[in-house]
Each structure stands twice: as structure tokens, then as C-alpha cells.
Amino acid sequence: MKLRVNGKDHEVAAPPDMPLLWVLRDLLGLTGTKYGCGVGQCGACLVHVDGKPRRSCMTDVADVAGKSITTIEGLSADASHPVQQAWAEMDVVQCGYCQSGQIMAAAALIAEKTKPTDPEIDAALGRQLCRCGTYQRVRAAVHRAAELNQEQKS
């Protein structure tokens, strides 16, 4: 089947029910998207499908054939996305393993909401687990990313 990932078309030979996560990681070599739980509980595998956040461990690859998939590798060419900039500025990461998912969830949120409120951040990122406890900085960085996003647009 045909898969469009980060603006590039791929022909993949995968069973239709193979989770998108493992197609990305094991067949396409895009290892920035992480496995954390396999059951949609942790968000480490979050990617964008047609711009919307989606847990790739719970997504059959056949369901997204022909759709536009964006992973952390495709969020920006040079870490210039406002969320990545804010993440660097606020020194958010620790072990870093969950951060691809956090960043993708945050990017989807600020694309949707110009100025997300704390409850909106809770709703959008409340199920993105981080065992290092970077949550306080994640929240602050989402606010900062929204600001940077507005500055860049204006």
C-alpha cells in the first residue's frame, strides 16, 4: 500500500492491521516515534494524520493509507517549529523518550488553538505520559510555543 509520510510517498508491504507505529519504526526506519505502551495509554507514539493527533500504536496502517502522516522527523527540517523552539528555550527534556509524542501533541494543539488555556492543555496533553516528570515545563513550553507561533505569523 501507499503511505505518505513527511511529504514523501512510500510503498509498504505490511499486513493491513499492522499498527502504524511499527510500520514507521521497523519498516520505514523512522524511529523518532516511540513505543511506550502499545495500548494508547501513554502517547509516546503520537503522530499527525492529516494534521490531527493520532496514537500510531492504535492505528491500523490500512486506515491511513493515502492520508498525510507527519512524524517528529517531519515536523520541521531544522527544529524551527515553534514547539521545538519553545522546548529548547525551556529546557524541557530529560530522558527524552516521551518527548516526540509530547511535541507532536503540543504542535497539534497550537495549530488548533491560538492561545491554549491550562484546561485545554490538560485535555490535549493529559494522557501524554512522562516518567521524568517534565510536565511543568511541558505546560510552560506549550504556552511559550503558542506565543512564538503568533509572533511568527504576524
Binding site: 499486513p15 499492522m18 499498527p19 511499527w22 519504526r25 521497523d26 519498516l27 526506519g29 523512522l30 524511529t31 523518532g32 516515534t33 516511540k34 513505543y35 511506550g36 505502551c37 502499545g38 495500548v39 495509554q41 501513554c42 509516546a44 512524524t71 517528529i72 522527523e73 515536523l75 520541521s76 527544529a79 521545538q84 522546548w87 529548547a88 529546557d91 524541557v92 527534556v93 530529560q94 530522558c95 527524552g96 523518550y97 516521551c98 518527548q99 516526540s100 511535541i103 492543555i121 490538560d122 496533553l125 493529559g126 494522557r127 501524554q128 505520559l129 512522562c130 516518567r131 521524568c132 516528570g133 517534565t134 510536565y135 511543568q136 515545563r137 511541558v138 505546560r139
Partner: protein, 722 residues
């Protein structure tokens, strides 16, 4: 950064492991530094031999400066703070340094433990001299090379931002690197006076951010090699079970499954990729001989623990006559505190990639114990330790789980690769992780304390019931000689409070169960701080004395703890009024050479405990990177708070009742309090920061809940009674 395709690294690796003949002596002779008191822990040996600077630092002719880490980056920030130590003495911009994990070799043995490992919040203090010396040695050689080239005296040269300067001449380090490498290493080097520090103490941003925000950071799970297969292993559903027989036919019928092989820990399904391996395992039929572990039941165990807590155990600490003081007292508080089994549940599930050839074995994994992994792989493959090459990737969290004496997941992966005759990445699913053991032990504390006429405790009799994390490991004969695992009683037997209580006794009942247990971020302190700090709070309330004031009196001779307590109380506005429905609780605890006080502000909403704000003060001696310290306090608090509010591993019929993050609950973003960190200025040698943030949070919250509701919650996770 790619750890897989760097020819320089491979060359270096070869060089670094050539001298590994003495390796076999090291691993199991760590000194007891992990358990040492702060006063002695950070002290360096009197005149340590200078480190092999080449093993830690490379300066290339193009000016690239690369620091090799003897310890593993698992989130705690040493990827930044160790380079800072070199940068300080080298006079080089730390933000321009490249960083790599070192290979496994004796040059990188922990300065206190005699093995290459990361744990016990020891990295910064144990490397504080060695990494600065490396920078100073390199600087001295560069200066000498410059002096020779310019025909001036070395004393006429100074260094600044990556260059040696003499008069109006300026030579970049890269230009001098080849010459400097030919010079003999000096017999001694002087380190900078702390007043001249420009790097140490400066809030410095993480050096690993770029690769961790664009998906290129390589964790163990991300390792890719030609012909790599992936395995998942079916393990016994109860601890200690053995494979009786298995039927692989359905597993082998799954497209992509290549092989099904038996290994000591179970049956491995080896496939082209993870998804096929997992489906193959689902289809695999294994008949298990479950053994005695099938009777395991935490409800029954807890009842047994409670009985044991009422009986005499082995004395870990005693002074005066605690039973006598209790018998004489008018007022005795007699309570039990309970802590459950806990999984570490790092975000990256365990995994290791193993490639075996006739004369070498390569292992890629995120580990906290390279030397142990190397020796285990050598023993299994029949190779010499120096023929085993450990490639440390970034760790997707560690918290102690990636530091087992049994090298459990690496050993298993080596067995799988051997049995499969292929290069294999063995991956644990999240369910495997939650059910796979190596938990923080379940613990019961029973404390009886007598209140004296001044309200302060006149007697303290304390029994701890716990499994030992060292039992059955080589650490047992090293540390637990008297039958007392010091990590079961740390934070209680050596509590500063007890020094102020003339009659005290701490006993240990060492319980044996077939559940693998392990150090979990802050080890014994993760439960002893809960028991000690809740009990002291209960006594303060029983005596009618303010909890901060009560602690201050007991800690009169503990200036560093008291200063941390005072700072946290002041910054939290301890005595200032709160809105209705909120209350504060306090806890203060010393661990890993640092002193931490926390004030938690809580409310109860819909029967749930909400923690709104935590004010944290820490004295960790010299604050090498204040940004790291702040991050680690936030991290330790989040880790401890998740456990305090929601985490528990329980058993019924030998089976772990939890399986994934839906039923093994950890802290989520909406429950993260606002954390404020205040660092006590200090010129003492550094203490640890990775763990000390964790112990105080559970008791601070429990004490706040007691202040708010009158309910004294003595069992974790904390659950309000309806």
C-alpha cells in the same frame, strides 16, 4: 548523533578496551558509598592518581572537543554537568562540546564503586575531581604545546575560550591538539580556585536537547543494524515458574516469525519486526511448571508483614532503652505505615540488541551497569569480558531498573541471540515491564513512640519489614554481612531525628519472597522518609506543636537539614493563611548526600487528593548546574507523587494484577503541581540530586491531607476514606 556509524568511535573503542585485562576484579567490590552519610560521602580520596585524560576527552585538529561519559544519561542531566566540569578547567565553551557515552572499560570505573555504573545519585560528586582534572590536564598540555611552538615560557600563556594566548599570539586548541598529544602527561595539576569558576554554578542548558526534540536521539529501542531481527519472550506468569513444554506451530505460522527458541527465562519468538514477534508470542502455547510462586498473594503477605512487625527482628540501630522508655511513658503513639510493591516503569521498555561473532559480542542497550552487563555477556558467550563491547545508548528512563546485579534483560537478550544464531533485539512489552518484577519492595513500618513532658519523643521503637534488594545478589555478601541490608533501613536507622531521641531502636525483619526486588529511585528512602516524616508530624500534632517548629527542635544539631527546612517554610509562607479547603504539609529528609525540604499545598476535590503547589528547598552542596538541580527536584517530586497518589503492584494467585499504564497508574500532566525550587547556597562538596527530591513528597502530601481533613493516611498509595 549516530552511535552506530562513527568510525572514530569504533577506533577509540578498540583502543580503550585494549587494556581491559584487569577487568574481572572489579565489579562486585563496590565500597559502601551509596549508603554513606553525607558528611563522608562526597569526600574524595586523599591523593587520587590522575585520570587517563585521553579516555575522557578528545580534541580533534578541527577543534572539535568531545567528552566521553563514564556514566549513563537517563534524563538526570549528566550529559551537561560532566562536560561543564571539564569545560571549567579547560576554558572551553561547554555549549560547543560534543558528548558521547564511553565504551565499557576499566578506565571508566566509578571512582567509589570499582565498576562502570550509574546510580545512587553519585555521578556528580564521584566525578567532581576526575572530570575537572581531565580538563586541567588537557589545558596544561595545550599550554605547553603552545609555549613550545611560540618559544615562550608556559607561564607567559593563558587560556580563554578554546585558545591559548601569549601576548598577541592566539592558538586555537585544535591547532595544538596533535602536538599536545605527544607530550608527557603532567604528574600533578592544580584545579581552579572556586572563586574563579566561570562554568560551575552557572545555569546551563542541556546539551542533549537538539537530538531529543527532532527524533534523532538514539535509545536502545532505536538501534538499527543490517539483518536485525526482533524478539519478544514469553516468560512465566508467576515468578520462579519454568517451561514444561511449548508448541511453536501457531507462532511459526505468523507471517514474519522466523524462529521460536527456548532460553532460560522462557520462550523467545524471533521475527522480522516487533509486530510479528508480538503476534507470534500471542499465538505461542507454553505449558508452565509454576512452582511455589503461584501461591503469592499480597493481601496474605501484608497480614504476615504486620505480624512480623510486632515481633523482634535484627537490630539495625539502638541507643538507650527504647522498650523501657515506652513502658514508662504516659503517652504512646503506636502506628503502622505501609508501602506497596512498585514498578519503575521507565517510558522506554527494556531492550537490548546483541550481535555475536566468533571473537566478539556487541551489545547495544541503555544500561546503568556496563561492567555487569559486560561480564554477564562474557559468561554466556564464553568470550573474554574485553571481547564484549557495550554500546550505551540514551536511556529512556532508568530509576534503578536498568541496574540489576543479574543483568537480567541483557543476559536474556544474549541468550536469545545465541539460541537464534542471529543478531537480535529483544524487546519487553509494557506488560512485560509491569509484570516482570524487580520492584521496589513492599514494606511495613511499625513505630511506637513515647512523648516526653516537653512534647518531644522520649522513646522510639521501630520495626521495618521488607524484602532485601540485595538478597541473593553478590551485593549481599558485601553489604549485608550482619543480615541487615542497609538499603532496607537507610533513612530510618541513620535518621538525624533519632540522634535527638535518647532511647531508640530500629529493627529489621528481612522477609523472603520469590518476587525480584530492586532499588527504585531513592531506594530505602522511598519508604523510610514516608514513615519517619509522617510519624514526626503525628507526634508534633499530638504534642500540639507546629510541625515545622517541632522538626526544628529535633534537628537542632542538624544545620543543613534545618536550613533547608527553614528555606522551604519561608518560601512557602508556612504560617500565612490559605484559602478555605486548602492545607499545607511539610517533610524534610536527607539522602544521597543532600538535604531536601518540601512543603505541599493540597485540597480534596470529589474525594481525590489534589496537590497544587510544592515548594522545595535543597542543599546539595556546590550547585554545579542549577538548571539540572531544579529539573531533578521537579522530576523527583513527580515520580514520588505519582507513587504516593496512585501506584501499586499487587499479586493474586501469583499473578501481578496490573499490566499497563491503565491499571499501573503514574502521575499525569493535569496532576502535576506547581513546583518551586530553591537552592541553599553552599560551598560544601556536591551531593546527589537525581534521587533526593523523591523521598519527602509522599509524607509532605500525607501530612497536608491530615492537616486538612484530620485523616491520617498511613498506607500508600494514599486513599481517603469516604
Amino acid at each position: 548523533m549516530s552511535i552506530l556509524a562513527d568510525p572514530n568511535r569504533r577506533e577509540f573503542l578498540k583502543a580503550a578496551t585494549l587494556g581491559a585485562a584487569g577487568l574481572v576484579v572489579g565489579f562486585y567490590v563496590p565500597a559502601g558509598r551509596r549508603f554513606a552519610h553525607a558528611a563522608e560521602a562526597p569526600a574524595a580520596p586523599a591523593a587520587p592518581p590522575l585520570p587517563q585524560a585521553n579516555a575522557f576527552l578528545r580534541i580533534a585538529p578541527d577543534g572539535t572537543v568531545t567528552v566521553l561519559l563514564a556514566h549513563s544519561e537517563m534524563g538526570q542531566g549528566i550529559w551537561t554537568s560532566l562536560p561543564m566540569l571539564i569545560a571549567e578547567e579547560l576554558d572551553f565553551d561547554v555549549s560547543k562540546m560534543k558528548v558521547e557515552h564511553a565504551p565499557a572499560a576499566p578506565a571508566y570505573f566509578h571512582t567509589a564503586f570499582g565498576a562502570q555504573m550509574t546510580g545512587g545519585s553519585t555521578t556528580t560528586w564521584s566525578e567532581f575531581d576526575r572530570y575537572r582534572q581531565v580538563g586541567a590536564i588537557a589545558r596544561a598540555l595545550l599550554v605547553q604545546a603552545a609555549a613550545q611552538r611560540l618559544g615562550v615560557d608556559a607561564a607567559a600563556c593563558r587560556t580563554e575560550n578554546g585558545a591559548v594566548i601569549a601576548g598577541d599570539r592566539r592558538l586555537r586548541y585544535g591547532e595544538l591538539a596533535d602536538d599536545a598529544a605527544q607530550l608527557p602527561v603532567p604528574a600533578s595539576v592544580a584545579l581552579k580556585d572556586p572563586k574563579d569558576w566561570k562554568v560551575i554554578g552557572q545555569p546551563t542548558r542541556r546539551l542533549d536537547t537538539p537530538e531529543k526534540i527532532n527524533g534523532t536521539a538514539v535509545f536502545g529501542l532505536d538501534v538499527r543494524l543490517d539483518g536485525l531481527l526482533t524478539a519478544v519472550v514469553a516468560r512465566s506468569p508467576v515468578f520462579g515458574g519454568k517451561v514444561k513444554s511449548f508448541d511453536a506451530s501457531a507462532a511459526l505460522a505468523v507471517p514474519g516469525v522466523r524462529k521460536v527458541v527456548q532460553v532460560p527465562s522462557g520462550v523467545a519468538v524471533v521475527a522480522d519486526h516487533f509486530w510479528a514477534a508480538q503476534q507470534g508470542r500471542d499465538a505461542l502455547k507454553v505449558d508452565w511448571d509454576l512452582g511455589a510462586g503461584a501461591a503469592l498473594d499480597t493481601v496474605a503477605m501484608l497480614a504476615e508483614y504486620r505480624k512480623l512487625a510486632a515481633a523482634d527482628g535484627k537490630v539495625a540501630a539502638a541507643a538507650g532503652d527504647a522498650p523501657g522508655a515506652l513502658a514508662k511513658a504516659d503517652k504512646v503513639v503506636d502506628v503502622e505505615y505501609v508501602a506497596p510493591y512498585l514498578a519503575h516503569a521507565p517510558m522506554e521498555p527494556l531492550n537490548a540488541t546483541v550481535r555475536i561473532a566468533t571473537d566478539r559480542c556487541d551489545v547495544w542497550t541503555g544500561t546503568q551497569m556496563q561492567t555487569g552487563e559486560q561480564m554477564a555477556a562474557a559468561a554466556i558467550t564464553g568470550l573474554k569480558p574485553e571481547q564484549v563491547h557495550i554500546h550505551t545508548t540514551f536511556l529512556g528512563g532508568g530509576f534503578g531498573r536498568r541496574a540489576t546485579a543479574s543483568a537480567d534483560w541483557v543476559s536474556e537478550a544474549v541468550h536469545v541471540a545465541t539460541a537464534a544464531g542471529a543478531t537480535v533485539k529483544t524487546v519487553w512489552t509494557r506488560e512485560d515491564d509491569v509484570r516482570g518484577g524487580y520492584y521496589r519492595p513492599m514494606v511495613v513500618h511499625r513505630i511506637r513512640a513515647a512523648l516526653g513532658s516537653d512534647g518531644l519523643p522520649a522513646g522510639w521503637d521501630h520495626t521495618i519489614v521488607s524484602q532485601s534488594v540485595m538478597a541473593g545478589t553478590p551485593f549481599e555478601s558485601m553489604f549485608a554481612k550482619t543480615g541487615i541490608d542497609p538499603s532496607s533501613v537507610e533513612g530510618a536507622a541513620d535518621s538525624p531525628y533519632l540522634k535527638a531521641i535518647p532511647n531508640h531502636r530500629v529493627q529489621l525483619q528481612d522477609y523472603r519472597a520469590p518476587v525480584p526486588v530492586l532499588w527504585w529511585r531513592s531506594v530505602g528512602h522511598s519508604h523510610t522518609a514516608f514513615a519517619m516524616e509522617c510519624m514526626v508530624d503525628e507526634l508534633a500534632r499530638a504534642a500540639g506543636i507546629d510541625p515545622v517548629e517541632y522538626r526544628r527542635r529535633l534537628l537542632a544539631d542538624q544545620p543543613r537539614l534545618r536550613a533547608a527546612l527553614d528555606l522551604a517554610a519561608a518560601k512557602a509562607g508556612w504560617r500565612s493563611p490559605l484559602p478555605a479547603g486548602r492545607a499545607r504539609g511539610v517533610a524534610v529528609h536527607e539522602s544521597f548526600g543532600s538535604f531536601v525540604a518540601q512543603v505541599a499545598e493540597v485540597s480534596v476535590e470529589g474525594g481525590r487528593i489534589r496537590v497544587h503547589r510544592v515548594v522545595c528547598a535543597i542543599d546539595c552542596g556546590i550547585a554545579v548546574n542549577p538548571k539540572t538541580i531544579e529539573a531533578q527536584m521537579e522530576s523527583g517530586i513527580a515520580f514520588g507523587l505519582g507513587a504516593a497518589l496512585s501506584s501499586a503492584i499487587t499479586f493474586k494467585d501469583g499473578r501481578v494484577q496490573q499490566s499497563n499504564f491503565d491499571d499501573y497508574r503514574v502521575l499525569r500532566l493535569p496532576d502535576m503541581p506547581k513546583v518551586e525550587v530553591h537552592i541553599v547556597p553552599s560551598r560544601e562538596r556536591p551531593g546527589g540530586v537525581g534521587e533526593p527530591g523523591t523521598p519527602p513528597i509522599a509524607p509532605a502530601v500525607a501530612n497536608a491531607v491530615a492537616a486538612l481533613t484530620g485523616q491520617r493516611l498511613r498506607e500508600m498509595p494514599l486513599r481517603l476514606r469516604a
